[in-house]
């Protein structure tokens, strides 16, 4: 009898330990925070449309959001040649679009032609434009297609993660898709209903057709308080990009539902205005152009406190332009600049600054006082500048805080250059350094601290220009990494941007949703949507 009991107990333990069999059916619900501007995957330029493209589009190559490695999707294999000028795909056979139209190499060629059509101004197409000249896509057989570029495109294969293939022949045009779901219903301002693509090609290890979910309902809802409330009620099962305050609030109510995934790709940084023609006094321009001055400011800022107080611990002190979340491109030899007010003061004293009582003065006796601008209404940025204000006060610097509405801020920062210090954030969606080209090239309009230079103003900007061009002109990833590591080191030394924090990626996932593996890359929570399933697959069954 005792043996029987033990055997029963062992069986129960085994049943619990075994992974549950995925259940098909059910509807996943979450919120889009804005109306998608388009359903055409070629024209996607906003986050809501990108979500639809991710859920419905089939791509040749997919960046695995967890490993950040490239994986074959519609393309069985590919080969890059001529240093990145040519890429040849061998596509899978026997696949069809959601409406039953067969998929072939012609569709890839058609998609590339549409993508590069100058009349369409496709934002996705822009990333393929390495230089003047046409991009040619040729289908040599039903399964082989070659795309040729006028000049080498570094990391070209990674760009295909954004290219959802559209059908050349389907009468349904853009609504014929190769992804796991297809748009079934759209009520503007209210919701978008996606239904399972009956012709989706992927199967699980047991040979069951994916995706497991029947449908996804995306409610269009801008109010984040309501989103949180609906999650608590179980009406939605996912929240991406939670901010720290909401995360903490939800953590108290449902600790099992919140996930701090670690540092994201996004950063918050400050930079001094170094534009020679800026309408600010010459002596201030001299401070702002001094590397020692910028480094001292960086040292005076207590990044650990920013992370702990402003972001409730859900952020990490930032190192540079690449977050540690970017596994391949992050320069691991660099550390965040440590907080050290005394070292900051010593550095400033070496530059002929001196403390006069509680006020820091430069060699000519000007008290060190400047203003920081940031966008009004962003609570975290306002708190960060308030903390920086107190940090700088420790070394005798007076910082005036100015919060402006966003258009006024952009006007000052990018047109009139009537500002001294600015705090803004950078949202990174691309892992490849090519995406940051416009920030680092001194001739670029996005080179924020001193844009559109005719020739580099400093030796280090000239060096960054050279390194960015060099990394873009080779397809050897290790060589590119070496070049970009040097860029990160120069930025770390020179501090044109003083990086403050990398916010953590925070998400909420209902325990009712299984197989989840949230990651820092977008879309954090549903990157593996085809394998997600509901443990209780009734429509609307949340928690």
């Amino acid at each position: 009898m005792r043996g029987y009991r033990l055997a029963s107990l062992a069986a129960v333990v085994l049943l619990i330990a075994l992974p549950a069999k995925p259940q098909s059916g059910g509807e996943l619900r979450f919120v889009l925070r804005s109306e998608p501007k388009t359903f055409d995957p070629i024209l996607v330029d906003d986050e809501a449309s990108e979500t639809i493209r991710y859920l419905t589009g089939g791509v040749l190559i997919r960046v695995n959001r967890k490993t950040q490695a490239l994986e074959p999707e519609l393309a069985e294999s590919w080969k890059v040649s001529e240093g990145g000028k040519k890429i040849k795909f061998r596509i899978r056979e026997g696949l069809s679009f959601s409406d039953g139209t067969p998929f072939g190499a012609e569709d890839v060629a058609f998609t590339m032609q549409k993508l590069m059509d100058p009349d369409l101004h496709s934002p996705t197409g822009d990333s393929f434009r390495s230089s003047q000249g046409p991009v040619r896509a040729t289908a040599s057989s039903v399964r082989d297609v070659t795309v040729e570029f006028p000049a080498p495109v570094a990391g070209v294969e990674r760009l295909f993660d954004q290219v959802a293939i559209v059908s050349a022949h389907s009468p349904k045009k853009d609504s014929a898709v190769l992804g796991p779901f297809a748009v079934a219903e759209y009520k503007p301002g209210s919701y978008i209903l996606l239904k399972r693509n009956p012709n989706y090609w992927k199967k699980d290890v047991q040979g069951r057709k994916l995706p497991y979910l029947d449908s996804i309902r995306l409610d269009i809802q801008q109010n984040r308080d309501l989103e949180l409330l609906r999650f608590k009620r179980g009406e939605i099962q996912l929240i991406n990009n939670l901010d720290a305050a909401y995360f903490e609030s939800l953590a108290k109510a449902a600790p099992a539902a919140v996930h701090d995934i670690g540092p994201s790709l996004d950063s918050e940084q400050i930079w001094f205005n170094q534009v020679p023609t800026a309408p600010i006094p010459d002596y201030k321009k001299k401070w702002f152009r001094s590397t020692a001055f910028r480094t001292a400011i960086s040292e005076a800022i207590n990044r650990d406190d920013l992370c702990r107080v402003v972001f409730s611990g859900h952020a990490r002190p930032a190192v540079g332009p690449v977050s540690p979340a970017n596994l391949f491109w992050f320069n691991k030899s660099l550390e965040p600049h440590p907080h050290d007010s005394q070292s900051a003061l010593r550095r400033l004293q070496q530059e002929q600054f001196r403390l006069d009582g509680q006020v820091l003065k430069d060699a000519d006796g000007h008290p060190v006082e400047f203003s920081v601008v940031t966008n009004a209404g962003n609570k975290y940025r306002e708190q960060m500048v308030t903390m920086i204000q107190q940090d700088l006060e420790q070394i005798g610097i007076k910082l005036n805080i100015v919060t402006l509405d966003f258009p006024s801020l952009i006007e000052r920062v990018s047109r009139t250059f009537d500002y001294e210090l600015c705090l803004l954030g950078l949202i990174n969606v691309d892992l490849d350094p090519n995406a940051q080209m416009s920030v680092w090239l001194s001739s670029s309009s996005n080179h924020q601290w001193n844009p559109e230079q005719k020739s580099p103003a400093t030796w280090w900007e000239a060096e960054i220009d050279g390194l960015m061009h060099a990394q873009a002109s080779t397809n050897d990833q290790n060589q590119r990494k070496r070049y970009f590591d040097q860029v990160q080191k120069i930025v770390w030394d020179q501090q044109p941007f003083i990086y403050l924090v990398n916010k953590n990626a925070l998400a909420a996932i209902s325990p009712a949703l299984a197989n989840t593996a949230p990651v820092v890359l977008r879309p954090q929570t549903f990157w593996n949507v085809e394998t997600l399933y509901l443990s209780n697959p009734r429509p609307g069954a949340g928690q």
Partner: protein
């Protein structure tokens, strides 16, 4: 009502006295960040707890109330003076001047002043001290907030224009300026007083609105608008009901201002 009015007035006087001594009563400097205890609950050290940056909420409430409650009456006084000047002259002179003045009041009231305030705020010099930016904000409120009061005062002056005592003064050969200053203005006194009191809560709320948009008084200076932003996160408010103190005080003070205005002077 007989009891309420003096009670409200006494409460306002008491609040003003407390605020004048904020420097003595505040347990900590309003800008000091106790970074080891952000969002602390009320305690003996921090009577109302601390805000997100660890600043003492009671000290910030004292200083913030001083900012809002001393500058709102100043802005209201400015607005009432402009309204008295424009409305009084227009109502007394009448004719084309009154029509032009009324049209400009209508135009002024129909303008989206919030956006104008945002624009003016955006073009101000960047290195303004928080106190200077605060004074400018309230001065702007005063300059922009005269139109509604001017309409009421214009109507009052118009009714006095043909009154017996004004006609008698005219018959005696008094100059228009003398009649305006000696006859009309003293009789408009209760209306001006009521308009002054009515405008105070309006300006307090306008500053609070600007503060909620992040465009009010610059950090680290506190104001009611800035303090009310602390209510954005309901989770924090639930944890520390002391966060509701600025809202409660705003409600009570605005109500008191309404109660002290003689009901017969409030325009319908």
């Amino acid at each position: 009502m007989k009891v309420l009015r003096p009670t409200a007035a006494a409460f306002l006087v008491a609040v003003f006295i407390v605020l004048l001594f904020a420097g003595i009563l505040a347990p900590a400097p309003y800008a000091k960040q106790f970074r080891e205890s952000p969002n602390a609950l009320p305690s003996r050290i921090h009577l109302l707890g601390t805000d997100e940056l660890g600043r003492d909420l009671f000290s910030r409430l004292l200083y913030g109330s001083r900012v809002s409650l001393l500058l709102a009456p100043a802005a209201s006084l400015l607005a009432t003076l402009i309204a008295a000047l424009v409305g009084g002259i227009a109502g007394y002179v009448g004719g084309g001047l009154e029509r032009i003045a009324l049209a400009s009041m209508d135009l002024s009231m129909s303008m989206p002043w919030l956006f104008l305030l945002l624009t003016v705020r955006a073009v101000l010099p960047l290195n303004l001290a928080p106190v200077a930016s605060l004074l400018i904000t309230f001065a702007l409120l005063g300059f922009f907030g005269w139109a509604a009061a001017a309409r009421v005062i214009c109507a009052g002056a118009r009714s006095l224009r043909n009154s017996d005592f004004v006609l008698q003064a005219k018959a005696c050969g008094c100059s228009s300026l003398r009649i305006l200053l000696r006859q009309v203005l003293p009789n408009l006194g209760p209306v001006l007083y009521a308009q002054f009191l009515i405008s105070i809560p309006v300006f307090i709320l306008t500053e609070a609105n600007l503060g909620i948009l992040g465009l009010g008084v610059s950090e680290p200076l506190p104001s009611w608008g800035g303090l009310l932003r602390g209510l954005e996160n309901w989770g924090i408010v639930q944890a520390n009901p002391g966060r509701l103190a600025p809202l409660l005080l705003l409600f009570v003070v605005v109500s008191c201002f309404q109660l002290v205005v003689p009901q017969e002077d409030i325009p319908s």
